[in-house]
């Protein structure tokens, strides 16, 4: 019985102390966080109303509900709520002035941070400052418009399933561009209809399912792991051959973190694309191409010989 208890304790502790793959720090499900999640982790919360002298159940503002499961799977799972939010939130009811607090930006933590140096946050910021989002909305647009700090996790580098990565990343764009309520947080313009705007794109469904918005709508560079310079719509990639060619730009973006090989053992170029998709022009086959030209050349050669002989013998 004692052994069983010790074993259970070890299992519980190892579950609670999951090493954070990004920072290397141990992740503890902090008791402070649990206090917050007690109300903010649910759609309803309970409290004792001193004025009315009774326990009440109220609905939580849905924008203030934080999914603890998503949080503890996110990049920021090792943080405490008070690392970003004021410690004064510890008291309830919260002071209404706290809503006016200035939230930290990504660079407040990540600038010069050796642990996350690989991610080049400073370079990301440089690209972001050149992006159409920042240029048009310098005051309103922050990293958090795209990267929900409570749920965001790095995807394209870690997830083997590229289809999931595409859905995850595209949903970030769609969270504004297909949601008028969030879009209107920073713009009073009419949200463009994405389907109509992409009418020119053949096989729209296939494209939307197999590439991310940022493939065409960002300026790809080698400075950052994922491009953050979102381009104005007139500068977005519209030339099909940018992807549909042997030197496909997809290899520098979506497939950047997949094994690189100019062609695989079966002769396919840009072979890492083939696990999830097939891009005409990019995935041509070296051996089939050579074989087809040899066969075609041989046929033409025979025809020429035949024709010359016919003319000479006539």
């Amino acid at each position: 019985m004692k052994k069983l208890f010790v074993l259970s304790l070890i299992l519980l502790l190892s579950a609670a102390l999951v090493p954070d793959k990004i920072t290397g720090r141990s992740v503890e499900h902090s008791s402070e966080n649990s206090r917050c999640f007690k109300c903010h982790g649910k759609i309803v919360y309970n409290y004792f109303n001193k004025v009315q002298d009774q326990h009440l159940t109220k609905r939580m503002n849905p924008y203030f509900v934080i999914d603890s499961v998503l949080f503890y799977n996110s990049n920021h799972k090792s943080l405490e709520c008070f690392d970003c939010h004021s410690y004064d939130y510890k008291t309830f009811p919260h002071n209404s002035e706290l809503q006016m607090e200035l939230m930290p930006t990504c660079l407040d933590c990540h600038e010069g941070d050796e642990v996350t140096a690989n991610y080049h946050f400073e370079k990301i910021n440089e690209e972001f400052l050149k992006s159409v989002h920042y240029i048009r909305h310098p005051k309103e647009f922050t990293c958090f418009m795209c990267h929900n700090p409570h749920t965001y996790k790095i995807n394209v580098r870690k997830n083997e399933n590229i289809d999931e990565t595409i859905i995850y990343d595209n949903n970030i764009c769609l969270s504004c561009h297909a949601n008028i309520n969030k879009y209107h947080l920073i713009s009073s313009n009419k949200n463009p209809n994405i389907i109509k705007k992409h009418d020119w794109l053949p096989d729209q469904i296939t494209h939307f399912a197999h590439v991310r918005c940022i493939e065409c709508h960002t300026q790809t560079t080698n400075k950052t792991l994922v491009a953050h310079q979102i381009l104005a719509k007139d500068k977005a990639v519209k030339k099909c051959v940018e992807c549909h060619s042997q030197n496909s730009m997809l290899m520098a973006s979506l497939y950047k973190f997949r094994a690189k090989e100019s062609r695989n053992q079966f002769g396919y170029f840009n072979a890492s694309i083939l696990n999830n998709a097939y891009v005409i022009g990019a995935n041509r086959n070296y051996y089939l191409n050579v074989m087809s030209w040899v066969i075609f050349g041989f046929a033409v050669f025979l025809i020429v010989i035949h024709a010359v002989l016919r003319i000479l013998i006539k």
């Binding site: 030339k239 549909h244 696990n275 024709a307 016919r310 013998i313």
Partner: protein, 202 residues
């Protein structure tokens, strides 16, 4: 002087003309897509996609028209396959193309109202029209509606699998077209067969 035979009714000639033009468009745009390049493309990629799709759909409709015509007119009888002494007849025709023609021998299977095609032609046309064309059209439709294709077939993506068949069949038919055009110069005069496909008389 040998009497002329009316071998190519108007519907066959029209179908043949459209088929040839569509095929040319499909070959050129198909090559542009397959070898699309950032520096040079024969036809811009977006135009190639549109032209290839539209031409392919019209070609499929023309193929149905051809099947219908062969089913309900006497033209279908020229495609009836005879297995009797097939290899002997094929060898005879092959010998003519590769040897007899240079000795000014007469064709072993001259064209008549009953025999439009020699055995080699007939075998090729049957394979082309009743095996390769359906594969080309079916795979082309699959690529036109990629959402209906399975995600994976035999370990590779459905689109790649279908495209492999599509481009291989397209290549074989392109090769057939080149050989077909050349062999059409083997007539009474190099242009006589081409004239026949315009006026219908052989």
């Amino acid at each position: 002087m040998k009497e002329q035979v009316y071998l190519y009714p108007i519907w066959v000639r029209l179908w043949h003309l459209f088929n040839a033009l569509l095929f040319l468009a499909l070959i050129l745009t198909g090559l542009s897509l397959q070898y699309s390049n950032k520096i040079f493309t024969l036809i811009p990629f977006n135009y190639s996609v549109s032209i290839h799709n539209i031409s392919g759909l019209i070609l499929a409709a023309a193929y149905l028209f051809y099947l219908f015509g062969n089913r309900f007119t006497s033209n279908g009888r020229y495609y009836r396959f005879e297995t009797n002494k097939l290899f002997v007849r094929l060898a005879k025709q092959f010998r003519y193309y590769s040897y007899g023609i240079f000795k000014n021998e007469s064709p072993p299977f001259p064209v008549s109202a009953e025999r439009k095609f020699n055995p080699l032609q007939k075998l090729c046309y049957i394979i082309v029209m009743y095996v390769l064309m359906p594969i080309l059209i079916a795979t082309g439709l699959g690529l036109f509606f990629p959402d209906i294709l399975p995600n994976k077939i035999m370990g590779i993506t459905g689109i790649q699998f279908v495209d492999l068949f599509h481009i291989s069949t397209g290549f074989t038919l392109s090769l057939f077209m080149v050989v077909h055009i050349y062999l059409c110069t083997i007539g009474k005069t190099p242009l006589s067969n081409f004239k026949s496909m315009i006026n219908g008389w052989h």
